[in-house]
């Protein structure tokens, strides 16, 4: 590389400016083709093909066999580009597709994710990024190994890094499968396979270098795809194309509408119907299986009686229908009643979107507040401890640029996170004021098409048979908010394709970063640093690539099993990363006295208590470990399992501090390392006054 850094930066800016023009041109071209009759499926295929080929091409162009290039992109990624790459690395399928939907469903409560996932970068900037850059190695376990000496701390680091990255990776590959199948009509399994190919070509050939330049490209696609529909929707509802500024007034209208809906007799009627059905189901399930026979006999008796006393025909018809629709056998009955029992969740009146900590009674309100604060805390600490994000700051040319690159990172991330609440409110306004109250015979086209595609995303049934849509009759899945926005806003299908491509970019970019983190932890930390310190660079990279393939396959296999607990696992990853890494990393830099044994004990106890709390309070894990005592007996301060890190992080800090004070101070070498990372450049000899006096 004979090019100077500034010439390199200038060239990158040119390349990505032209690239952005190309993306816009491609979308316009497809938009024109749609006008002249290109089918939706073909638009989907073209988007999928074009983006995957693009990412693969960047991977091929960035192929490398140099260790520094492979692990840390040669440490010449300029601050602004590292910021974009971090943005794409950070924003996953969950952020892109799910977040606005979560905000739609939860209102203020969902804002914990907004604050947590941005505020974490303040911690990255203040406590970690510049020091890790100065340290200048390849992985996060590298730092633990150097600072706390020996293989023990490094190994614990490897285990924690793999544990949280792997569940996160599975969720991304799951997202890739979902989006690809929605975009093109391929099956979920084929979708996973195509996505996997896109991820692998890129990271396999060029490691961090290829992943970095692909992530920049992916950021540009995902931010365009997110912004265009929201801006359009905002212009439609408010006349102002800046949704972030305009949605305050819309929120006001939504709140007014909520008050009306809360007391609307028709809404109350629908909720009452759900409550009755749930009550019946509960009674029947309690007396099962006897209740099945009794219910059957009772329905028949009612019909006979109605016929016997020559009741009006509509009564006989109703009784006949009750007999006809009665479940055929005990198993069908159990299934139907379990479904009806689940209607209980739809009997609650709608939540007020802007209300903080909605709950009945002061105790419940304060528990809700505690959980909100704890979730923000865990998400922030977790953000600042996820290894695939922290390694990105190894790739800048200097400490100074590492600091600036955090500014760019949080800026690019905030662009999306500040827009998501606006999108949620705008869609809510559309649904509350346009859809609710409309006639079933005249539903908008997007409602019909989405309800047909996937009833878990959207289903509307006329429960009280009045021909009018009530809010309580709409069942909405969180993912639809982003996916359907282009259609709600009345945009052509090509924009829906762009949104799906954006979601794909978000999932693929995060998957790339995670995959590399796992493969590097195994190849660099375990294979090279612990097992075979004399391995050649070629050998190290070969091992890394083999592991990459293996881990990707394994993750795809797990994702294809479609476990319903993926979302929980992702949130759990934050708590585990926070408890495992944050105290050991921060004290390692800020407290010279922190000792090796203490750090290991701290990491271990932090993760252990976090995991223990999850295992005893989260239903799926309780089942896995065969825990049958009541959840309440394990719950501390009403904390929900995803915020378990709120116990792990303080314990981690406390254990490290206490044990450190009882063990021998760290070696001179470890203390010198702390000095080394704290100052961007120390004068070579004590007499060097530093260049500013020249």
């Amino acid at each position: 590389m004979n090019e100077t850094q500034s010439a390199f930066t200038a060239r990158l800016k040119r390349v990505y400016a032209w690239y952005t023009v190309g993306v816009v041109g491609f979308v316009l071209l497809l938009g024109w083709l749609e006008q002249v009759g290109l089918t939706r499926n073909w638009i989907g295929y073209l988007f999928l093909l074009a983006t995957v080929v693009l990412y693969a091409a960047i991977g091929v162009m960035s192929r490398t066999t140099n260790a520094a290039e492979y692990y840390v992109a040669g440490r010449r990624v300029p601050a602004i580009f590292n910021g974009m790459a971090t943005g794409a690395d950070w924003m996953s399928a969950a952020s892109f597709i799910g977040l606005a939907g979560t905000l739609y469903l939860q209102g203020y409560t969902g804002l914990a994710f907004i604050m947590g996932w941005t505020g974490g970068y303040v911690l990255v900037a203040l406590f970690l990024a510049p020091y890790l850059r100065k340290f200048g190695q390849y992985t996060i376990p590298d730092f633990l190994g150097a600072r706390y000496g020996g293989h023990a701390a490094r190994s614990v680091g490897v285990v924690v890094a793999i544990m949280c990255s792997f569940v996160y990776l599975v969720a991304q590959i799951y997202g890739v499968g979902l989006i690809t199948s929605k975009l093109t009509g391929l099956s979920f399994g084929e979708g996973v396979f195509v996505g996997l190919a896109g991820i692998l070509v890129c990271s396999f050939l060029g490691g961090m270098r290829a992943v970095t330049w692909t992530q920049v490209a992916q950021y540009i696609i995902l931010i365009l795809a997110y912004m265009i529909p929201v801006i359009w929707l905002s212009a439609k509802h408010t006349g102002n194309p800046l949704p972030q500024v305009a949605y305050g007034a819309v929120l006001d209208k939504v709140s007014a509408r909520e008050e009306a809906l809360l007391n609307d007799p028709k809404e109350i009627e629908v909720r009452k119907i759900f409550a009755d059905r749930a009550d019946t189901a509960e009674r029947m399930l309690a007396g099962f299986p006897r209740s099945f026979e009794e219910g059957k006999a009772q329905a028949q008796r009612a019909l006979d009686q109605a016929k016997g006393r020559r009741a009006p025909p509509e009564q006989i018809a109703a009784a006949q229908k009750a007999v006809d629709t009665y479940p055929k056998d005990a198993n069908a009955a159990k299934l139907a009643w379990s479904k009806d029992l689940a209607l209980r969740s739809r009997t609650a009146p709608p939540q007020r979107h802007a209300e903080a900590f909605p709950a009945e009674g002061d105790a419940a309100k304060s528990a809700s507040r505690r959980n909100f604060l704890a979730l923000v805390f865990c998400l922030m600490m977790g953000t600042a401890a996820l290894p695939h994000i922290l390694t990105r700051y190894y790739t800048t040319p200097s400490v100074k640029e590492a600091r600036e690159s955090v500014v760019w990172s949080i800026f690019f991330i905030t662009l999306l996170y500040i827009t998501a609440p606006a999108l949620a409110v705008l869609v809510k306004f559309d649904i509350y004021s346009m859809l609710v109250g409309s006639e079933f015979s005249k539903l908008p086209a997007w409602v019909n098409s989405w309800a047909r595609v996937d009833p878990t995303l959207l289903s509307i049934t006329d429960v009280n048979r009045d021909g009018i849509v009530q809010l309580a009759e709409i069942l909405i899945g969180s993912d639809i908010v982003v996916l359907a926005t282009p259609e709600i806003a009345g945009l052509p299908y090509v924009i829906s394709g762009l949104v799906a491509a954006g979601g794909l970019a978000a999932a693929l970019s995060t998957a790339d970063g995670l995959l590399l983190t796992i493969a590097n932890a195994l190849s660099h930390d375990v294979y090279y640093k612990i097992l075979k310190p004399d391995a050649s660079t070629i050998m190290r990279l070969s091992v890394s690539k083999a592991l990459l393939l293996f881990v990707a396959m394994l993750a795809a296999y797990v994702a294809a099993r479609k476990s319903a607990d993926i979302l929980f696992l992702v949130s759990a990853a934050f708590s585990l990363a926070a408890a495992g890494f944050f105290p050991a990393l921060v004290l390692g830099i800020f407290w010279k006295r922190a000792t090796s044994i203490a750090a290991i004990a701290g990491m271990f106890s932090g993760v252990a208590i976090t995991f223990y709390y999850m295992a005893t309070t989260y239903p799926w894990l309780r089942g896995l470990f065969g825990i049958t005592d009541s959840v309440a007996s394990y719950t501390w301060w009403d904390m929900s399992p995803i915020s378990a890190g709120v116990f792990g992080v303080p314990l981690g800090f406390a254990v490290i501090v206490v044990v450190s004070l009882f063990t021998r101070p760290p070696t001179a070498e470890a203390q010198a390392l702390v000095d080394f990372v704290r100052y961007p450049r120390l004068p070579a000899s004590p007499g060097d006054p530093g260049p500013n006096t020249k």
Binding site: M1, S6, A68, G74, R75, R76, Y108, L111, A112, M115, T118, G119, Y121, V122, A125, L126, F127, P130, F135, G136, Q244, G248, A249, L251, D252, A354, A356, F357, K365, R369, L373, F377, M380, P397, S398, K400, R403, E404, V406, V407, I410, F411, T414, Y417, I418, P421, D675, F676, R678, Y679, P680, R681, L682, P686, G687, P689, G690, P691, N692, T693
Partner: protein, 101 residues
Amino acid sequence: MQADVRSALEQRKREYWRRNQRMIAVLMVVGFVVTFGVAYLARDLSFKFFGWPFSFWMAAQGALLVYVALVWFYARFMNRLDREYGFEEISERSEGAQSSR
């Protein structure tokens, strides 16, 4: 003489680090107040603010803008502090020299 220079450097290092820590503490307090302080009092802070309930706006936008400002300010502060104490990197060096540890 040599010992004097060495202790002068040690002095410079200590002071630099103390100022860094102090700035971190100040910024953390600001971040804590806009995040946890406002959220804790969210139910009481629901007065109108440019059309939004204040606590909602803070969690959805205000806090985020403050975070960006904090990170930006800290980067600028530290880059200046480096120069003031003579700890800044010599820019535009070639690959490898910095990671030679």
